[in-house]
Symmetry: C2
């Protein structure tokens, strides 16, 4: 199987079609496969009906080399994948004693009896390889027929991911689907619009006829994705081009790959041996959360205060009552007091704060809904910045968090030398 | 057009296929259309290539009545939707003076010149209705041909959502696609496994031959989705059945629809006129964030402290150093001290806390990675609870947040009468 195999993902689940949940499996599988040089070309979500499963599966097996299906392997009556696939393939479902033993062992460990309906899960496609499920009851399957490869994975995230890593990746590698280098490179930028970024990259793009460039904008971040249209650019070429792109983007560039703005701030602080605390009003914990998603965050991030009420702003981060009275809680003055106050209270070198109206209620003439004031305290001074966004409450929160992180990132880069002096240096 | 129209959504964007972003558009559009009685049957994600656009679009127009496509309408060279669709339909792209005027006005307001590449966005399919874009430059389109309806929406979330609400919904209603009642009902439960929930609903399911039931489990929550297989059950029937399902689920039931555990806790507190503060270590702001995603959260949620370091646990939430020394920061004793301390410090009636090891690093023999201790302080006492999860760092955080919210919800229901007495009641 060549590394230019076409890959299609089919996710089952009504809940993905009627807006109950986002499709995290596609995000995960897409990222993992791309990392191994196998980008997904097509994906679809279908409801749990045998007709839809039959149609989607037949079509996918016709036009794609590798078809990965997720979900529908559970013990409940709406889990119909196994039976429907067997019917389409004309393959037999046979009882697998090892699978039954594994399911029994699973229930023994969690100290519950194995219910009768789990017996359905012991049947697998004859001629396929069973992918053991170490975190649940539904086994996965790897099945090859007429030059096509079919993979069935269970729906729950905590079962799918370990099975993908431990069971599926080795088989895909064995059968020649995976390469070691990524087939695309991503350059992340923040604080500049999509078409401006494209405009400044015109010369680079024009010089590389086989270069495919895609832009993706979200919450103030613009990602530039570089890949080879016809495969004439190898990993080293893409690396070279991505460096040129990053240079052209200047201060807007913040990392290659999937790293977050919080990670960039964290690594900068870590290099300097400095710590950060945050104070949040309207973003309500989302800024703290961005840091604590980083494994090892405790080396730079010591904590945060969500001062949602005015009383908590006064009692926990020492915002002077006079500021609240004169300027209000949604003001540059309050943002600065919060940033300086939280750094002082928690004993960190840096403080970062957000206060504003996330909507849909609140806001006034001076500060309409969507207005956010950011505050920044560093060893060499304090600053404020005001931003304004449209959109729903969660969108405004997410944009404000990105804005605060990007602002701190730029300040850190600009004042780094000065601040190391002010803190007494590292050596 | 009957209300049983088949609906298909096509999302463009390489970033959705290689794991850079989750498909939030599908989640949003699916939820909105289902709310109006028009559940989506099929969805697919394709990359920005003319061949893929052509294939997916032709197929969708053959088998679905309404096809909604998102993305690919931007000004950059990788935005190919408009041109490819026109080619497939054999339709003409014509310059629209109103669209050009709107784009010029957009740039006038944000005080930037209109760049030459935005001129492409002024071309629309001849015979279609333009959907004005009040938040950006790319207009949407509503186009009917041979009994089929095609909708083009722009990719950025902040442009797509207002256009959907203000421009698309009225047209879909005019053309008979939308009903006023939802075609499915969701019953949300927490704290009980998927197959146990199914088992306890057997009698209800058996009594309704036309009832379609789907289960969806994520992070400790199991949603039960009820719909009518053949359309014999109307909204009143689904409502009646959903009430019976909720009753059968007992304490595990927490709400109908899309509400969150945080919302249930918020509404309970609001009814009692009580307030809450939270202290978080490993969940790092995610618990606070769950509350502040609720508009009007400030009526019950006064704030939170992210005490990531031991120093902050001592200085900000008054965890006694003796507890840290004897039991450690990851212990039931510390969780209780955090819950009581944050309520005391911030002046709330209730305190809720989480401390644990989210992984992948950390953990010890007594508290392996994934161990979380929850603490709860109420007017009538303090409690702790220990939970343990497998999975990645973000999964463990999300499960711990759900566990803490569900635990507080159950405690509130159990002790409500008693606590109202202890606080002096509301009247």
């Amino acid at each position: 199987m060549s590394s230019s195999a076409t890959v299609e993902i089919i996710n089952f689940g009504d809940e993905l079609l009627v807006g109950i949940r986002a499709n995290a499996h596609l995000e995960y599988l897409g990222a993992e496969l791309a990392r191994f040089g196998l980008p997904v070309q097509r994906a679809r979500v279908i409801c749990d009906s045998p007709d839809e499963i039959r149609a989607a599966f037949s079509e996918a097996m016709t036009r794609s080399d590798l078809v990965i299906m997720t979900g529908g392997l559970g013990p409940t009556a709406d889990d119909l994948t196994r039976e429907t696939i067997a019917e389409v393939l004309g393959a037999e479902l046979i009882h697998d004693a090892d699978v039954e033993a594994a399911i029994k062992e699973y229930f023994r460990v969690i100290d519950r009896p194995m219910a009768a309906h789990h017996r359905r899960q012991c049947f697998v496609l004859k001629g396929g390889e069973v992918l053991p499920n170490e975190r649940g009851t539904a086994p996965g399957l790897y099945y090859q027929t007429k030059g096509k490869t079919l993979v069935l994975l269970p729906g729950p995230t905590q079962e799918l991911r370990p099975m993908f890593e431990r069971e599926l990746v080795p088989r895909l590698r064995r059968d020649g689907f995976l390469r070691d280098a990524a087939s695309f490179v991503q350059v992340r930028t923040s604080g500049c619009g999509e078409s401006s970024i494209e405009a400044c990259l015109q010369d680079i793009i024009a010089a590389e006829p086989d270069l495919q460039v895609a832009f993706c904008a979200h919450y103030g971040i613009v990602d530039v994705r570089l890949s080879s249209r016809e495969g004439h650019l190898d990993a080293a070429d893409l690396e070279r081009i991505s460096r040129a792109v990053a240079e052209e983007c200047g201060d807007h560039f913040f990392c290659f790959g999937k790293g977050s703005l919080a990670e960039v701030v964290h690594y900068e602080l870590r290099k300097m041996g400095r710590t950060l605390a945050v104070a949040e009003s309207c973003t309500g914990g989302m800024l703290s959360d961005a840091f604590t998603n980083i494994s090892g965050a405790s080396k730079t991030f010591i904590g945060g205060i969500v001062c949602y009420s005015n009383e908590v702003k006064v009692s926990q981060v020492d915002v002077p009552e006079s500021i609240l009275m004169q300027h209000g809680a949604v003001s540059p003055e309050c943002a600065i007091a919060m940033a300086a106050g939280v750094a002082e209270q928690l004993g960190s070198h840096y403080g970062l704060s957000v206060t504003g109206f996330a909507g849909p209620e609140g806001g006034d003439k001076k500060n309409p809904v969507g207005t956010m004031h950011l505050g920044y305290h560093s060893p060499v001074g304090v600053w404020s910045k005001t931003v304004r966004y449209t959109g729903g409450r969660l969108d405004v929160k997410a944009r404000a968090v990105h804005a605060a992180l990007d602002w701190m990132r730029r300040k850190l880069l600009k004042y780094k030398a000065e601040e190391q002096g002010a803190c007494g240096g590292l050596n």
